[in-house]
């Protein structure tokens, strides 16, 4: 089985979701017939890191036209190299979802999205209806395009002493598009662990009432070295930016510990966190639906509970040191 994995990186650093895609690739190709595809501009530093990953070959496109990794340019390139592979894989991040369906269509192939389990190289499981149902798909597609759900594949780093061979794509294969221009990006400052890779996630909902109050969630997260998450209601109300939304239409996470505070438990939210190993719920309404998926539930007012929790955690830390 020949597998092509598309590299996903940000500010010249590979993302954990990329290593999850590698895990899936490893499952599909135990013989390690895995190649990587890297598109970007001035990616020399990145390349040095990528070369240490244990794969056969790196297909590199280092060109100004790929600077912003626009789907129009990158999907076109992927579709040109995809014909040599049985599988083309990315994580189902916004990056992967933007690019891979376009590449699949250019190859006249279907794409199986959000794979959470590989049963065998032709059979895949994916959630539908906000994770309320699992669907098993068997495919005979010539090139199998898959996006995998990163939270379902433990990221692995497979390092090697031997550097992988690098093949550079010829410049004239890269399309130049006049009809799309990158204007700007506003990336969120990463001051805490990211939602996708944190061991602990502390999430807040509408009950926080304001942006100022939402700091309580952030303070608690900092005490636990945790990532911060939010419901759609909290994001819509402007307590925090969109990239913190957990759920069916936001990010999917599965940390060791998920603490849901002032969140009712709409199915769209549950879709993004119900695979967490341990779930703690804090809500003043004992009948809130989210208690149904709680391992530990505490009924009460979050405005009292969070400060008490922070206090208690500080005490524990003191006794430890």
């Amino acid at each position: 089985m020949k597998v092509l994995v598309i590299a996903e990186y940000e500010r010249q650093r590979l993302k954990p979701s990329f290593f999850s895609a590698l895990t899936a690739a490893k499952q599909l190709s135990p013989g390690n017939e895995i190649d990587l595809f890297v598109a970007g501009f001035e990616c020399n530093d990145l390349l040095q890191v990528i070369k240490k990953i244990n794969v056969k070959k790196i297909i590199l496109v280092d060109d100004k036209k790929c600077e912003h990794q626009l789907a129009e340019v990158v999907a076109d390139l992927i579709s040109k190299v995809a014909i040599h592979y049985d599988f083309v894989i990315m994580s189902a991040t916004t990056f992967g979802k933007n690019i891979l369906p376009r590449a699949a269509a250019l190859c006249d192939c279907t794409l199986i999205a959000d794979v959470v389990q590989i049963i065998d190289p032709a059979t895949f499981v994916r959630p539908i209806y906000a994770g309320n149902v699992l669907e098993t798909i068997q495919t005979s597609e010539k090139i199998k395009f898959l996006t995998i759900r990163a939270s379902a594949f433990e990221p692995t780093l497979i390092e090697s002493d031997i550097e992988a061979e690098v093949e550079c794509i010829k410049e004239d294969l890269i399309s130049s598009r006049q009809d799309i221009v990158f204007i700007s990006s506003e990336l969120t400052e990463q001051t805490r662990p990211s939602l996708e890779s944190a061991r602990i996630v502390v999430s807040g909902g509408r009950a926080l009432k304001s942006k100022e109050n939402f700091k309580l969630i952030e303070d608690l997260a900092d005490k636990l070295h945790a990532a911060v998450g939010a419901t759609r209601a909290a994001v819509d109300a402007g307590f925090i930016s969109n990239d913190f939304q957990v759920g069916q239409t936001g990010k999917i996470v599965a940390p060791q510990l998920y603490i849901a505070i002032g969140i009712s438990g709409a199915i769209q939210h549950l879709a993004g966190m119900k695979e967490s190993k341990v779930i703690v719920v804090i809500n003043q309404d004992p009948d809130a639906p989210i208690f149904k998926i709680a391992d530990y539930g505490l009924v009460g007012d979050l405005f009292q509970i969070i400060p008490a929790l922070i206090n208690e955690l500080e005490k524990c830390n003191k006794t430890l040191t």
Binding site: E10, A71, E72, A75, A92, T94, K97, N98, P101, R102, A103, A104, A105, L106, C109, T110, L111, P127, I128, Y129, N132, V133, L134, T136, I137, T139, S140, K142, Q178, D179, I180, V181, F182, I183, S185, E186, L187, I200, R232, V235, D236, N242, D243, Q248, T249, L257, E275, V278, F291, K292, I293, A294, D295, Y296, G297, L298, A308, E312, L313, C316
Partner: protein, 250 residues
């Protein structure tokens, strides 16, 4: 300038999907359908373009069986000018839907094609990207802001790590995210008026597309299993104690 918006009827998300016996799929027979919420946002944006004098006509299109007429009628009541149903009883993959929508785009020649970023039933998030690829048009996916200028649009996209702004020359495909706008409700007079608006049913066969069957099949559908401890704790101290000693996550 004409704008095309795709509309998928989906199971009302407040209803739990019912499984047919032996993993044979989902029973949609008596299920209440609504417009996919993302498509409602897409339609709202198209209507606002028309109301601000920037678009001249808003056309909605759906692919599916005759039941979809009801959902399209609702789209007309919200303000769309006319509706097209590509009627088929066939199971369609995302790629097939994209090919059918491409045929409709080539027929209607819109300057802008709006889709939802994902259908909340199959959660695929791919038709818009596939369509843009097949048309070789620029794509603005997961957008939370759209500004139309002559012959081009500025779009802001919601990404995992923040926001990105792109300028696309028309014609273009966009897929919309939750925060683009808040859709309106259909007023009673508009619901009545919608009955007179044109809703054209076109059979898939008449499009002459020679669509191959998908190269995959759904071999099982099942409910996920999860078991939770559901332990009520009475204090912050007890909670921390349990997380440390019992769950061992702190």
């Amino acid at each position: 300038m004409r704008v095309l918006v795709s509309i998928k009827p989906v199971l009302d998300p407040s209803m739990k999907p019912r499984l047919k016996p032996e993993g044979a799929g989902i029973d949609l027979n008596q299920a209440k359908r609504i417009i996919n919420p993302f498509d409602e946002i897409a339609l709202e944006e198209a209507l606002r373009l028309k109301e601000s004098g920037k678009a001249t006509e808003v056309v909605i299109v759906s692919v599916g069986n005759l039941q979809a007429q009801e959902t399209l009628r609702h789209g007309l009541a919200l303000g769309a000018d006319r509706a097209l149903l590509i009627q088929t009883e066939r199971y369609c993959s995302s790629l097939m839907i994209a090919k059918i929508l491409k045929a409709m785009v080539l027929r209607e020649l819109p300057a802008l094609m709006f889709l939802g970023k994902q259908a909340i039933d199959t959660d695929n998030n791919q038709v818009g990207q596939m369509l843009a690829g097949l048309l070789n048009w620029p794509q603005g996916t997961f957008i939370s802001r759209l500004e139309l200028q002559t012959n081009e649009i500025m779009v802001t996209r919601e990404l995992d790590e923040g926001l990105e702004t792109l300028k696309l020359r028309l014609p273009a495909v966009v897929t919309v995210d939750l925060r683009l706008n808040t859709p309106r409700y259909a007023s009673l007079p508009n619901i009545v008026k919608a009955k007179q608006k044109p809703l054209t049913v076109i059979t898939l066969e008449s499009l002459d597309l020679s669509l191959a069957e998908p190269n995959y099949k759904i071999v099982n559908t099942s409910l996920p299993i999860s078991s939770r401890k559901k332990i009520k704790v009475n204090s912050v101290q007890e909670l921390i104690e349990k997380l440390k000693k019992e769950a061992k996550v702190l």
